[in-house]
């Protein structure tokens, strides 16, 4: 049998339901691994092994008694530390909220618990899901599971690194300008930002109301589809929540891609920004693979990346400053340098800037919707480079914005990060699959076909090597 820490959630659930694996055994194995290695990766802010073991024993009793079992029965999970869990601190990785205790579960936390999953810990993030990586906060930044000297992506940095390290099979992150897909990219994971409105954000500390999404990070496509099926659904407490049917997002995983029409946005990484050769080569190889599987891939043109980035920035910072205005006026010194420097420009934007950006957004969304009249999906790059050394702040400032994720926060389309290989340093590479609104099934279908024809998701970091400094 696969080592317990590398079991996918789906594999583990099958074993648990067949009484071949105890939730206690699985939880204990993950706790031991976290105890041994997390001091090198700093993925957890809160970690409650005793509580998790207690819940695992209850889960085990449920199996033995023949209770009806949820789709994630006995599976440990983690939450980015902006997502509430009753009785746990939600710190947003910030001195401002270091003593903040949640009095109820976020909608998504409740959904995971209803499905039988067990909360093992709260995970490192960039401060308030925006500033970072930072070394001036109450907790250190998470590090890349493939090499602890490197940035793990952000802002859901702990979620990405913990899943890649085999600490958890599943974690939730949030994505306002790419913060699920970035750590997915840099840690070799699947990570989705579903359609805006698909997953409730109630009980999640907001960064930008109209751009925020919550999404799962996993090591396999089928786990990601399962997790999204569990956390999706209408919620009266989220004004943006969409009252739509929640399908089984994994229903087409075995259908293949034969006959699908896929648009390729190449200018994002060859003209608007210039991606590194290794990333481009891996993406071109992925396209060839999909074509060999029967997909028809056709290059398409959209407006340049910079247009989307400008629109995203004005909306994000205007909304973020509406949220942070009181602290900015009373306690600016309690923010880390990175977040403060990113937030402050938002205080100078005008109401007209914000309204114009939202009007622009409507126009850009319409343009994208028209593309989907002709194509089943779009593929493009995720990051322009693989991960970079985390302590090189100058490099971080330069490389962090070099990405192609913000267009899909602007338009609200589903966007799934999919691993496409490794660079010469052994660091993961990634593409994005984008689909029409509320058609996440198609994104998973394409990712599953690609995964079945490649070995990328079967590679795991050897923490005895990658934890060495």
């Amino acid at each position: 049998m696969t080592e317990l820490h590398w079991l996918s959630a789906l594999e583990a659930v099958k074993l648990i339901k067949n009484k071949k694996l105890s939730p206690v055994e699985l939880t204990d194995a993950l706790i031991k691994r976290i105890d041994k290695y997390d001091k090198h990766f700093d993925t957890f802010i809160s970690f409650r092994p005793e509580q998790a073991l207690k819940e695992a024993r209850i889960a085990e009793e449920g199996v033995m008694k023949g209770d009806a079992l949820g789709p994630l029965h006995g599976i440990p999970f983690g939450l980015k530390d902006i997502i509430d869990a009753k009785g746990w601190n939600t710190t947003a990785h910030s001195a401002l909220l270091k003593d903040n205790v949640a009095d109820k579960d976020a909608f998504v936390t409740g959904k995971l618990k209803e499905a039988g999953a067990i909360l093992l810990g709260k995970l490192s993030t960039h401060e308030f899901a925006l500033g970072g990586p930072s070394f001036d906060l109450p907790w250190p930044p998470a590090r890349n599971a493939w090499n602890r000297k490197y940035f793990p992506g952000g802002s859901s940095s702990g979620s990405g690194a913990a899943v890649a390290a085999g600490f958890l099979p599943l974690a939730l992150g949030s994505d306002t300008g790419g913060s699920v897909r970035n750590p997915a990219s840099m840690n070799g994971l699947l990570g989705i930002k579903a359609t805006y409105g698909r997953v409730s954000r109630s009980g999640v500390i907001p960064l930008s109301f109209s751009l925020d999404h919550v999404g799962p990070l996993t090591r396999t496509t089928s786990d990601n589809a399962l997790a999204l099926s569990v956390i999706s659904g209408w919620d009266k407490n989220d004004p943006a929540s969409a009252d739509v049917n929640v399908p089984n997002f994994g229903e087409d995983l075995d259908r293949g891609v034969s006959g699908l029409k896929i648009g390729l946005i190449r200018h994002f990484y060859t003209k608007d920004l210039i991606a590194c050769d290794e990333m481009v080569n891996a993406l071109e190889a992925a396209i060839t693979k999909l074509e060999k599987s029967g997909a028809v891939v056709e290059e398409i043109a959209t407006r340049p990346l910079q247009d989307f980035a400008a629109c995203n920035r004005v909306i994000l910072l205007s909304e973020a400053c509406a949220i942070h205005k009181d602290w900015l006026k009373s306690r600016p010194e309690d923010y880390g340098e990175s977040l403060l420097s990113r937030l402050l420009p938002g205080t100078a934007l005008t109401a007209v800037d914000y309204v114009e950006a939202i009007r622009t957004r409507a126009r850009y969304t319409q343009e994208f919707n028209e593309i989907f009249h002709k194509f089943d999906a779009i593929i493009t790059i995720n990051n322009m480079e693989a991960a970079f050394p985390i302590e090189d702040s100058a490099l971080c400032e330069k490389i962090y914005p070099r990405q192609a994720r913000t267009p899909f926060n602007v338009t609200g389309n589903p966007a799934l990060a999919v691993p496409i290989g490794f660079n010469s340093e052994g660091l993961p590479l990634s593409m994005q699959v984008i689909t029409p609104q509320f058609d996440e099934i198609m994104a998973y279908r394409i990712a599953a076909s690609f995964e079945s024809n490649t070995e990328w998701t079967k590679h795991h970091p050897d923490l005895d090597e990658t934890s060495v400094y």
Partner: protein, 57 residues
């Protein structure tokens, strides 16, 4: 055309002139780069009004 933006005085006094100046420059740059080629009649909000949204109870 450069869109000059200023940090509110209540914040500027707390963070000092260096940070104020840097933030104002960044904000001006962001405002300048925004595509404002919108028609006068274009509503800002329809993107959030998905046809499938139900009235909340």
């Amino acid at each position: 055309m450069m869109e000059k933006r200023d940090i509110p005085e209540s914040i500027a006094t707390l963070i000092g002139p260096k940070k104020t100046d840097e933030a104002a420059k960044k904000a001006s740059d962001m405002a300048s780069k925004l595509d404002r080629n919108n028609s006068w009649w274009q509503e800002p909000s329809h993107v959030f009004r998905a046809i499938t949204w139900a009235i909340k109870s």
